[in-house]
Point group: C3
Chain length 158, copies 3
């Protein structure tokens, strides 16, 4: 039976994007046809430059600040910036793969990565600014059809 | 084969509600039976007055603040308020449909919109305060049954 | 037809965890085989001590602050702390079940609760620190297989 997994990424924070790719790449490794649709803030994840600016979510920042009481007086933007720096450092020393690596791995494993064409417009991005190896930008209907035309499918949303 | 798409909305922020309705309305336009279940903060989206106060998520506000360095010293509530104003202005000039318009369009397309009866209680909302054209308030089991009784279904969560 | 519901919890905030368990427990009560996979911040929900520190999401805190204008000058960490206190008080007086109660109920109803083994490592948690009655820690592939090996399945992500 042909099974598909669709993953919708509308968040652009590290702590959503990492599980999205970990699930996508695991699923593709298991032989499940896997497609990802990047819309809203998610589109920035596929952007060669903007990917460098991904941060933790505010909720993630607050979680990590609870382990570092010295951070609790920072304002939101500072708090997110500071905890993101700390986590990126920790990830590097623990050899957690970067999002760039996960994207490359996804493409190698045959995951289909669809940029949302409306999100490109909304954020003023030209498709030449995106990583190589992605599918052409599409609308939501193409992605819904990807899911719906399989005999069996599931969707995960981040 | 009868296919259904269920969309659960527990978030009440603009940047979750817009993709929820865009996917719902696209799906219904494709002939897929589409139902939405509004619970937790999501219930406020269906409220005739409270819908006017929807804001960006904090993560969205932080993203937009990165494009507007003048905002970085605001506290959370101010930051979310300010960026929401900016985005609403931008949406208006780009003719992005409002959430009110998307709800009307959803109803016209036959999307079934289910308010969660527990969420109504939790937020002290009487069902007369909700938009016209919705389904009667239901519990989670009715929505799970909507999904589960189709031969094929998928769920998207916001 | 054997149906399954998979619920992925990567968020560790009260306002995501409560709907996750409410849906899981409703689904299990309806005779649907239900499994939950706790990864990223979600792993802290299964920790006997850390569960006591769950807070509202920042977006939830901002929503509640709009009903309590006295809170609007607090910084993020204070705002989340203060609104969480208020809501926990309100939940207690309204007899909303605690997350601990919902976990126990889930186990009693036969919901399979899978801790993610990578998340345990990432957050430095030993499985002896988790609640009793859970499944053994697994990787993402075990959970994807749980979903995918059913004739019919859906996934909800929080």
């Amino acid at each position: 039976m042909s099974a598909r997994l669709g993953i919708i990424v509308v968040s652009g924070t590290l702590d959503k994007v990492l599980p999205a790719f970990m699930l996508a790449n695991t699923s593709a490794s298991m032989g499940i046809e896997t497609g990802m649709f990047f819309s809203f803030y998610g589109i920035n994840v596929l952007h060669k430059e903007r990917i460098k600016n991904l941060t933790l979510s505010t909720d993630g920042a607050i979680f990590f600040s609870s382990l570092n009481p010295g951070l609790k007086d920072l304002n939101t933007v500072e708090l997110v910036g500071k905890t993101t720096e700390m986590i990126k450092e920790k990830f590097k020393s623990n050899k957690v793969p970067s999002v760039e690596d996960l994207i490359k791995q996804a493409i190698d494993l045959g995951v289909k990565i669809y940029p949302c064409n409306n999100a490109l417009k909304m954020f003023g991005i030209d498709s030449s600014e995106l990583f190589e190896g992605l599918e052409n930008p599409v609308g939501a209907s193409t992605f819904i059809n990807f899911i719906n035309s399989a005999e069996k499918s599931n969707v995960i949303t981040f």
